[in-house]
């Protein structure tokens, strides 16, 4: 899957597109693994779901795995533009408090960079 990676104010912004399911999930994990070592202490990651059409348990697993790695380094992970289906999956898994949810990229970057 295509994943757009940018950096804003020290926050790594990942924008995957397509279906975040099954084997496509490993692409996201690889991208995250290659970006994180360069992000130093307290890594800040923002995942933009605007172009993600579907996410399954594997996709959620990757998000949680990333959260675990980032939390160990004292970092934070935020999400934006989450559609109804993905939001339901996150709510049902009682993870809504795990990922900081923001209404816009600017708001997220400002909050995470602080």
């Amino acid at each position: 899957m295509a994943i757009d990676v940018t950096q804003k104010d020290g926050v790594i912004v990942l924008k995957p597109s397509g279906k975040l399911i099954g084997s496509a999930v490993s692409d996201l994990r690889k991208t995250i693994d290659s970006e994180l070592p360069d992000s130093g202490e307290n890594p800040r990651l923002l995942v933009d779901f605007a172009d993600v059409t579907m996410m399954d348990s594997s996709g959620l697993g990757t998000l949680m795995g990333t959260h675990v790695s980032i939390a160990k380094k004292g970092g934070r992970i935020g999400i934006i533009n989450v559609g109804t289906n993905i939001k339901n999956l996150i709510i049902r898994s009682r993870l809504i408090s795990t990922f900081e949810h923001f209404d816009s990229e600017n708001e997220a970057v400002t909050a995470l960079a602080s």
Binding site: S58, L89, L95
Partner: protein, 603 residues
């Protein structure tokens, strides 16, 4: 005219021309090759000047010496006469050449001929040419009638010489055609043999062995592409020449190019990048692959698979020959066939691998199927049923179970592990084993869930987790206590048609250690009373996330409505009716997740 002294000169002339015509007809009709008639040609030429001795000396293909094509001497002679390129250039075009008029630059050649032909002193040389290229000499001995320049005899023997040269060229062309035909027959035979091979390595070896022989060459290499690396790797080589260069097996050529490397590397890279064959007959450019020359052709399918290289073409006596266009055409045809064979072999190996994976998946599916309860439990005053339909690959991550606890109460579990295939199957086995072990320890549900989380975190594969609901039925009171770890909300359908969802619960298990989990969502348990006719419905997201052809999900509301409508059916029927409704809802859409249901109904 000197010959005019013979009264039969005209008759003899006519006779010679008639005989010449017969010989040529024989050559042109293909009945006889020039090699079998050359003596007749020579005899005819000797007859024309009434000489007794002579030879047709032919230039070898490497242009380094003359050899005897045919001779009429008192004793058989075999000889090789070295000839220099300058001497070839110095041989006059006019014909015939009287030895007395021979240029000084050719006297050494004449001496060599005389010496090699055991003292045979030719009076006349008739150069043989086709298309302006020197191809040999007819050397004629002393004429008994004497030959003077500008006589009709000169004209006659020149005519004969031209015919001889034409016949020789024709014969050589015919021979080459026959050789080409033979090569094509060999090629089709070889490709038929190779197409039966099913592994790439055997194909590489067989291909190179055959192609180097077919092209009369000393060595050959097969390089295959490593696409993602943009490199060519020497995979197979054949070295017939004992004095071959060093072993090049495993050598890699970078397709992006490097400066200061051997020109041969550039040639092969150009062939791989452009898909156009190249011939190089410059000995300075072909190291380390060859010593004299090389031909390189691409191996094509939809894209370039590699490059086939053949080096050091040689003739008889190890004389160096140049690669020509015919070699290119032959090698390209061969490389095409090898490309097809390599691709087929790769597809075959992939199919084998798929079959192996398929067998592994089937095994995993069997393991999973064996983990599910074989029969409905017999619980006084209740009926329970469950079903699980794996997604299209057959190995999913859903699990349900009925567990009788040590105190006689019953536990009902439904779970969904993340991922699919072997990883999911493994995690499911871990979950089931841990859960049954915890149930046997009679822990309370919250402690049990924390223990499960810790066990799965320790042994789990990264990024993998499980969601589950465990509902404990107290048989004496009809109360149901449940815990939910990140799973879909259980639904309770009352006998009167009212529906409630059990929304209390914590996060998934197997992902977060206990201390982190405490900050996310702590587990909570929930208790409801089941009355007569009430139903508990547990399900996985394969039900609510099932998509119709428009991409719309089934959703919980539709499930609640359906459950309400069919609440009076048996537990088993409720399961099958929901499954059928979801299948119908999906239409032709492929099921991408497992679908699992568990129904407990108080009679």
């Amino acid at each position: 005219m000197k010959f005019a002294s013979s009264g039969n000169s005209m008759g003899r002339l006519l006779s010679i021309l008639s005989e010449l015509e017969q010989i040529e007809n024989s050559v042109i009709s293909g009945q006889d090759r020039f090699e079998s008639l050359n003596e007749a040609y020579l005899q005819l030429t000797l007859d024309a000047i009434k000489a007794n001795e002579g030879a047709i000396l032919r230039l070898d293909p490497a242009k380094s010496h003359l050899y005897i094509e045919s001779s009429i001497f008192p004793h058989p002679i075999s000889a090789i006469i070295p000839i220099m390129a300058e001497e070839i250039d110095a041989i006059p075009q006019s014909s015939p050449i009287h030895i007395a008029d021979l240029p000084a630059s050719l006297t050494e050649l004449q001496d060599r001929i005389t010496q090699q032909l055991q003292g045979f002193g030719a009076d006349v040389w008739i150069p043989l040419q086709t298309d302006g290229d020197f191809i040999g000499i007819i050397a004629l001995g002393t004429s008994s009638i004497g030959i003077e320049k500008q006589t009709w005899v000169d004209v006659l023997i020149s005519t004969v010489a031209n015919r001889v040269a034409t016949a020789m060229a024709y014969s050589r062309a015919l021979q080459e055609m026959r050789t080409a035909k033979l090569r094509l027959l060999l090629l089709s035979d070889v490709t038929a043999q190779i197409s039966k091979l099913l592994d790439v390595e055997s194909i590489e070896k067989a291909a190179m062995n055959h192609v180097v022989s077919l092209l009369d060459s000393g060595m050959g290499y097969l390089l295959l592409g490593i696409p993602e690396m943009r490199q060519l790797e020497v995979r197979s080589h054949v070295l017939f020449d004992a004095d071959s260069p060093a072993d090049l097996h495993g050598i890699v050529i970078d397709l992006e190019g490097q400066e200061g490397e051997s020109p041969a590397f550039s040639i092969l890279r150009d062939v791989a990048n452009s898909g156009i064959s190249q011939i190089c007959n410059d000995a300075n450019q072909v190291m380390p692959f060859g010593k004299r020359n090389l031909i390189a052709v691409p191996i094509f399918r939809r894209e370039i698979l590699g490059v086939m290289v053949v080096c050091d073409k040689a003739g008889l006596d190890d004389a160096s020959l140049e690669f020509v266009d015919e070699d290119r055409i032959l090698l390209e045809a061969f490389a095409y066939q090898i490309g097809v064979s390599i691709e087929n072999a790769r597809l075959y190996q992939e199919a084998l691998e798929r079959r192996r994976l398929q067998a592994e998946m089937e095994e995993a599916a069997k393991i999973q199927a064996n983990l599910l309860p074989a029969a409905q439990p017999n619980i006084p005053g209740y009926e329970a049923a469950g079903l699980s339909m794996p997604h299209h690959d057959g190995v999913g991550g859903d699990y349900f179970d009925f567990i009788q606890e040590p105190d006689g109460n019953w536990g009902f579990v439904i779970a969904d592990v993340s991922g699919k295939g072997m990883q999911a199957a493994l995690l499911m086995v871990m979950l089931r084993t841990s859960l049954r072990s915890e149930v046997a320890r009679q822990n309370n549900l919250l402690a049990m869930t924390m223990r499960l989380n810790a066990l799965l975190c320790e042994g789990s594969i990264s990024d993998a987790y499980a969601t589950f609901v465990y509902a404990r039925l107290h048989l004496d009171t009809g109360t149901l206590t449940s815990v939910n770890a990140g799973h879909n909300y259980p639904i309770v359908i009352r006998c009167d048609g009212s529906v409630a969802q059990l929304e209390k619960g914590g996060s998934v298990v197997g992902m977060y250690p206990a201390d982190v989990l405490a900050n996310i969502a702590e587990y909570q348990q929930e208790t409801v009373q089941l009355h007569h006719g009430d139903t508990l419905l547990l399900y996985t997201d394969g039900v609510t996330d099932a998509l119709d052809p428009n991409g719309d999900p089934f959703e919980e509301q539709r499930l609640c409505d359906l459950a309400r409508r069919i609440r009076h059916a048996s537990a088993n029927d409720i399961c099958t009716k929901i499954r059928d409704a979801v299948t119908e809802f999906q239409g032709d859409t492929q099921q991408f997740d497992d679908l699992t249901l568990l129904v407990l109904k108080r009679k």
